[in-house]
């Protein structure tokens, strides 16, 4: 990557352990695993249904990716156009190189209005720059108004999902948080509060309404910023967004530079892609659009803070820039087997899940433990790419980042060492056979027990169970069931072009037999051997 500055790693996340270590703790949290499994399965089903309603879904994905690429390839031009249109419509545009600069701009505007509090509509960008903490340090209270964000804020917690940040909490915990915390920062929770979701939502409504009605300053993000009109767009469900965007006198929107869309036509593409991908709805309940200041309606002072904070560095990577297409729908989280089990906190960022595994190391660099480990927080199964409405090839980006992490590692990394060992072993079939025979010893010793960790493979086995090695190699098994010429048989089994045995005997192919008869051994050794060893050697050298 280029010499452009990385995003300063937040103090909160500096001490984060690697993903694998954090995930191991998360895996032990059965409540969270149950909540996540339910949530992701539910959203996956809803999403599939509403995406299935759209005939040209793939065309929409292509158009969505093209719109973002157009904006990203000409980002300076589109930002200048956006700025000109915003300014012409009475908005004030600010530019922020990093989190500290953006936070200071918001603090200065709030102080100039004589306000000591702001209401906030959920915004990934302001979470990323940790605006709430900066405001608090400046003596300004920041009230999160999205229900889930309120739960997270009152619970002194971190968000764990992009769309439903408090999904790791269940209703009883939420009730407890409301009863314990609301009174200290405003209207207390009703004394007879139950853990019914409707009652909890009502409590949030009452608690927040007094804040909405008195607030002088609001802070938002933006889902999209339209260059050719100067229009900002916020999508939401609860109406807290509309409250923030409408009632206060002053509105400050912190907008990542990658949020720009060239035109209103591109917005129509995105408004078809985003809600269906995100909440699995045909459309979210509320979408607000505003263009500068409208006399007599809404805030009469409108500020837009255009934020870099590491984005220019991501943009400079001609492969990696694809991640900046992200519209924060969270579809990739809901289909990811790793996210579903590990939960969002293990990613050490406001951007969890597959997109977080890509975006965080890109934005922050790979110097911290957690950012080094994130490219490995994936099974590379490809489900995230399939789900992504703007076709971000997350698995390919993760592989690229893994290379970068390995390259940057001082000395020989465990992965580089094991790859070298593998190349040596695959380089000669006798070595490989010896290794396989050795591994069956482990299988015979273990019997059916699961391996929890293997010395020397700490990083790999920390959060994974290792398959039990088979008790015999494929070649041994083949010899024991097919007579006396193991090499001939094995070659036929291994060759991708060889059909069933050529002697005219009507029997199942070796592969089929392997699948049915070799069931006790675990497939690893047989799988490795079913590939032509010479071919494998060529690939890994």
């Amino acid at each position: 990557m280029s010499e452009l500055p990385v995003q300063a790693t937040s103090a909160t996340f500096l001490g984060m352990p690697s993903f694998q270590r954090a995930a191991k703790d998360a895996l032990a949290n059965t409540q969270q695993r149950r909540n996540l499994a339910h949530a992701t399965a539910t959203i996956r089903t809803k999403r599939a249904a509403v995406v299935g309603e759209v005939e040209g879904w793939e065309d929409l994905r292509v158009a969505g990716a093209a719109a973002k690429d157009e904006a990203l390839h000409h980002l300076p031009d589109y930002l200048e156009e956006l700025e000109a249109n915003l300014t012409a419509r009475g908005a004030t545009v600010h530019w922020a190189r990093d989190a500290a600069e953006a936070n200071q701009i918001v603090i200065d505007i709030t102080r100039a209005k004589g306000a000591d509090e702001v209401v906030k509509v959920k915004s990934m960008a302001t979470q990323e720059i940790e605006l709430n903490e900066a405001l608090e340090a400046a003596g300004i209270a920041a009230w999160e108004t999205d229900l889930a964000e309120l739960i997270v804020q009152l619970g002194h917690d971190r968000p764990s999902h992009i769309l439903v940040p408090a999904i790791h909490r269940n209703r009883a915990e939420i009730r407890e948080i409301f009863v314990r915390e609301m009174g200290g920062v405003g209207r207390a929770a009703p004394e007879d509060l139950t853990d019914e979701p409707a009652r909890l939502a009502e409590a949030a409504r009452l608690h927040l309404r007094e804040k909405f009605l008195r607030a002088k300053v609001a802070v938002s993000g933006a889902n999209f910023a339209i260059a050719d009109t100067g229009t900002l767009v916020v999508v939401e469900s609860e109406g807290n967004g509309r409250m923030c965007l409408t009632l206060p006198e002053t509105l400050i929107s912190v907008v990542g530079v990658e949020k720009v869309l060239p035109s209103l036509e591109d917005l129509s593409t995105m408004l078809q892609l985003l809600p269906r991908s995100s909440t699995g709805e045909r459309m979210n309940p509320y979408t607000s659009m505003w263009t500068g200041v409208t006399p007599g309606d809404g805030p009469q002072e409108v500020h837009v803070v255009l934020l870099d904070n590491g984005r220019s560095r991501v943009l400079a990577d001609e492969v990696g820039r694809e991640a900046l297409r992200c519209i924060r729908c969270s579809a990739c989280l809901n289909v990811c087997p790793v996210y579903e089990r590990a939960g969002g906190h293990a990613y050490g960022s406001v951007y969890p899940g597959p997109i977080g595994a890509v975006l965080n190391p890109q934005l922050r660099g790979t110097s911290s433990e957690v950012d080094k480990s994130l490219p490995y927080a994936s099974s590379l199964c490809g489900a995230c790419f399939e789900a992504c409405p703007v076709r971000i090839d997350i698995p390919a980006l993760l592989v690229k980042l893994r290379t970068q992490v390995v390259d940057e590692a001082s000395g020989r990394s465990a992965e580089a060492a094991s790859m070298k060992a593998a190349a040596w072993m695959f380089g000669d079939h006798r070595r490989m056979e010896a290794a396989q025979r050795a591994s069956t010893l482990g299988g015979r010793l273990l019997g059916g027990r699961t391996l929890r960790s293997v010395p020397g493979l700490g990083a790999w086995t920390q959060a994974r169970d290792v398959p039990t090695p088979p008790t015999q190699t494929f070649r041994q098994w083949w010899a024991s069931t097919h007579g006396d010429d193991p090499d001939a048989g094995a070659d036929e089994a291994a060759s991708p072009v060889a059909g069933p045995t050529g002697d005219g005997v009507d029997e199942a192919t070796p592969d089929e037999q392997g699948a049915t008869d070799h069931r006790t051994g675990g497939g690893t050794a047989a799988d490795a051997e079913s590939r032509d060893p010479r071919h494998t050697s060529g690939e890994s050298s």
Partner: protein, 215 residues
Amino acid sequence: MSAREEILARLRSATSDATDERGARGPVPRIAAAGESAEATLELFVDNVADYRATVVRCTPEQVGVEVAAALARGRAHTVVLPADLDAAWVMPAREAGLRLRPDEGPGGDPLTADELDGIDAVVTAARVGIATTGTIVLDHAGDQGRRALTLVPDQHVCVIRVDQVVHDVPDAVTVVDPGRPLTWISGPSATSDIELDRVEGVHGPRTLDVIVVG
């Protein structure tokens, strides 16, 4: 160097490899479902609005007032705020039924404050566009729809939309609206699924949405 100049310079250097001309992708493809007929589009609109747990009724222009009054009665509204240019006939039966109808005007002649709006039960408005595939009504806050706060703070929103305002898909709506105006796209009442993914209607916006389709 100012932050603006520095960021733009960073971004220019970051995109120096991009060889495609600006706009080289050509016109934005218009990917939209087409309605079989105006009636099919209307039926889809009604179905999808209802699917959001909004109440939706169809009526003739003569019946609008009766339907508005019925909706306000269902919502147990007593006080109703009205946008300045709303068709007076739409609220005549409600007025006759004794509901307290107020213009968006406080005692001093200024628009109602947020606190004053908080004491009002319902609002009746027109709309700019309806979208069938998504069950969405779009407000552009013209004189018959009121400023944005009117349809936000009261607990019930009764929205009257003419059949000729209903388009089939999202791109059809985007070509109709004026981005120079504030726009509010509404699909069902205020809702949250933040607690264990249980959907709850009514958080901060109107808890009840009544859509009256005219014609």
